[in-house]
């Protein structure tokens, strides 16, 4: 038997994360994380990104600062996060209690041909911790996803970054709407705001 535990299944991780999401708002990083969240079922508090690479976590920060009593969860991939590593520092300075950034880390750029990502060498959770985010976790077991789900759907003592090691399997693409205007209208209505 190998001493290395099997890496987690991305769909199972996201499904568990969002099972009891309550009124949490979810922002998805382009590519597979967008499909993973869509695979859990469409939701009027989902913000699907199909571009804006590097912007997922910091867009979630803007939402979290605007809605301090509502949990906000960014679900993104290692490649998308690597393009916006500076946003860890920006988040650390603001330290919102209602923001969790979940990085699904398979160590490759799945959308573009499976090229190795820097996370093979670079420890993204350690980067987050070094920027001053107190709760930075590396997760390799489903039991820890349970604890993460509890944290992500409630308010903590500060922001949380969780890097979840997932396997490299490519899953069925579940494609949510690409109409950002429709998403804008739906999310704002769900929050009781005017649409424009």
């Amino acid at each position: 038997m190998s001493a290395i535990p099997a890496r987690l299944d991305r769909r199972a991780v996201v499904a568990r994360l969002l099972k009891d999401r309550g009124d949490a708002i979810v922002v998805t990083g382009l590519g597979s994380p967008t499909y993973d969240v869509a695979a859990c079922g469409d939701h009027d508090r989902n913000v699907y990104l199909w571009g804006a690479m590097g912007g997922c976590a910091v867009m979630a920060l803007g939402l979290a600062l605007a809605r301090p009593d509502t949990p906000v969860i960014a679900v993104t991939g290692d490649g998308e996060m690597l393009m916006g590593l500076g946003s860890f520092a920006t988040i650390a300075v603001q330290a919102p209690k209602n923001l969790t950034v979940v990085v699904l880390d398979n160590g490759l750029y799945g959308e573009t041909g499976g090229q190795a990502s820097h996370s093979v060498v670079t420890d993204i959770a350690a980067v987050a911790a070094a920027t001053g985010i107190q709760d930075a976790r590396a997760i390799a077991a489903m039991g820890d996803v349970e604890a993460l789900a509890a944290r992500a759907t409630s308010l903590g003592n500060g922001p949380c970054v969780a890097v979840v090691k997932i396997d490299q399997a490519e899953r069925e693409r579940v494609l949510p709407t690409r109409d950002g205007h429709a998403i804008r209208v739906r999310v704002r209505q769900a929050l009781g705001l005017t649409i424009d």
């Binding site: 867009m59 600062l65 920006t90």
Partner: protein, 182 residues
């Protein structure tokens, strides 16, 4: 200019940065994201000192584009302060503003266009208006202290009441060329 009726070109007593601040306050802007710039220093200080505002220092300008979009989705009015050298960094992230709509407002202090000592500032200074226009951002401009307040007010109205994407360029003559002392 008519010598009998010299045109008054005075700034308000508090100076033009405070005219922008007053406009943002009047519009209920809460989140103000910025990459530091000397020309914006007084405004940044005022935002930090205001308990009704959240000042958000960024590591790079494109973070601000995503952040203000998220802020507005959540019900906050937000804006971005930067200098012209950061505008190019925002190009792809502005696709978020184009695709989701909603207001976008940025105030840009211009470098590299008026007596600039540092040639490394000139290419992006020259390209700043075109960079915004490439991505569909409406560009406005103020070059004199007394023009800043009305331009800011017009831009604020277009962004938050009209839902437009607007950039206000603050000419380098407002700030003066940075003096490098050896």
């Amino acid at each position: 200019m008519n010598a009998m009726h010299p045109q008054a070109t005075h700034a308000s007593p508090a100076g033009w940065p405070m005219d922008i601040f007053a406009g943002l306050k009047a519009a209920g802007v809460r989140q103000v994201a910025y990459v530091p710039d000397g020309g914006h220093a007084a405004l940044i200080r005022a935002v930090h000192d205001d308990p009704g505002m959240v000042a958000i220092p960024l590591t790079t300008e494109e973070e601000g584009v995503a952040l203000v979009s998220g802020a507005w989705l959540g019900g906050d009015r937000a804006c971005l302060l930067m200098q012209s050298s950061g505008v190019g960094n925002c190009i792809n992230m502005l696709s978020l503003v184009r695709n989701m709509g909603g207001p976008f407002l940025t105030f840009v202090t211009m470098r590299g266009e008026w007596g600039e000592f540092n040639p490394w500032q000139v290419p992006m200074g020259t390209g700043t208006p075109d960079a915004f226009r490439l991505m569909g951002v409406h560009v406005m401009r103020a070059d004199t202290p007394d023009a800043v307040g009305p331009t800011a007010a017009a831009a604020i109205r277009m962004a938050y009441e009209g839902g437009s994407a607007v950039a206000v360029l603050l000419g380098q003559q407002l700030i003066g060329a940075k003096v490098f002392v050896k």
